[in-house]
Subunit: 271 residues, 2 copies
């Protein structure tokens, strides 16, 4: 079963795929998030796995923008503990390292370690891609920050594990596809809507959810492009869209919102 | 009157300072947002101007994180129309351009123009900084994307104006300082709070605002670092914190939230 992800082989997204499905899944790397969404939208690949939020850095807003514009459904979520490693060419000692390559988010998440060791941080497009770069260049004074898996994939050496500032570092991913999932009794629903300025406010929508007893676990606002300071609101709520509180809330929400769409109901994953 | 901003001379933030105060202000460039906040927090510089959201790209989340951690007040807002220009060394023709340098946000905002001309986009740290780079290097096949002001500051040539994908491209800035501003009759208040998981939900907070007739114009959630999938909620609401609806709502909010703080009440600016 092919699953598209953004990044190079050894990326955290690939690790999340293997953790979620094991050897059943065949991860397919794509250069950027849009390629992942398009591969799934055009049914070239059945499933995709995309990062939606990190517990330190927050939402991956590009994912939200693509959730809104692409014809796909969210069919699941999965969570991965992010454990950054300092990775170098075999034979290189930690004392020889002067520069570290990684994705800006991984550099930011390891900033204290980088400062303490006086490394010069260099921004790249990808964590695993950084390992690939220092391998291909054979550089000896440079390390990469990436997952233990990336070190293994490229036969590189781990100089130190767990170099992230904060150990409560998790990334949550959405699994995207086309199926409508049945009620399991432990589900979450993601929806998106906008409100017409001057007519309704987002508080009207929240009032409805509150009255129906629907709980929100995540709110993400994104710009309504072309209407400055108006927004699309993405909500994660507890329950399946077929369950009465959500079903009734969705019906009422139609009267105070527009462009409302359920992006999917899917089983809840805990950390 | 000195006002700190992030970026090089000629940055959009500098333009926003000059638009807001005219010749009264002396803009002081700082390498990054944290330096701007620290200069104001430590009272080395009285005021700072920081980007908070763009009408296409969304929130500048780094600004939100610093608003939470720094001891400063929001004392105003100002809005700038973003008009990107293609800028090159004097004598260079548009047909000679192969590469364009700019900040990732400016490249993304001009992506259609870049694709149409088959330019190779190169990411840099700053829009005005890109103009500086191509000037210093004297490169002839490379242009920068930045403001008309940046071209003027560095004595460079504008090859084309208004190359942004969407003309409704505005950036909203906060003015940060230490003053508590008086009620003007046309104010906005920005506040931040969290809710205790298992005890309250963010809907309890929204219910209070709704009952008191307080209108929300912006919601931004940021991770509560150390508590995965819990959040700090930043709200912009209409009114001054001394006005009855907000004053009463704030008192009631204390019972359903924690870490609640008013970041400032300030006069509203329209586009």
């Amino acid at each position: 079963m092919k699953v598209a992800f953004q990044g190079e082989k050894g990326a955290y997204s690939e690790e999340a795929i293997l953790k979620h499905w094991g050897s059943e899944a065949e991860p397919v790397p794509k250069p950027n998030l849009k390629d992942v969404f398009e591969a799934v939208e055009n049914k070239k690949i059945r499933l995709g796995l995309v990062p939606v939020e990190n517990s330190i850095q927050g939402s991956i807003v590009r994912t939200y923008d693509l959730l809104n514009t692409c014809k796909i459904m969210i069919i699941g979520e999965t969570i991965l503990r992010i454990n950054h490693c300092l990775i170098a060419n075999p034979g290189v000692k930690k004392s020889e390292i002067r520069k570290v390559y990684s994705h800006p988010q991984a550099l930011a998440q390891s900033s204290k370690y980088i400062e303490r060791h006086n490394f010069d941080p260099i921004t790249t497009y990808d964590t695993a891609g950084s390992v690939k770069i220092i391998k291909e260049n054979g550089t000896l004074n440079t390390a990469a920050i990436a997952s233990a898996r990336a070190a293994k994939v490229y036969n590189m050496n781990i100089l130190e594990r767990g170099i992230e500032n904060n150990k409560k570092n998790y990334t949550r991913f959405f699994i995207i596809g086309h199926d409508e999932l049945e009620y399991t009794g432990n589900d979450k629903t993601t929806l998106v809507f906008s409100v017409e300025k001057g007519k309704n406010t987002v508080l009207d929508a929240f009032n409805i959810l509150s009255k129906k007893g629907v709980n929100i676990t995540k709110i993400q606002a994104r710009p309504f492009v072309g209407k400055p300071w108006e927004y699309l609101f993405f909500l994660d709520v507890i329950g399946h869209k077929s369950e009465k509180p959500i079903y009734n809330a969705l019906k009422e929400l139609e009267s105070v919102t527009f462009k409302i769409r359920v992006l999917g109901s899917y089983p809840i994953t805990q950390i």
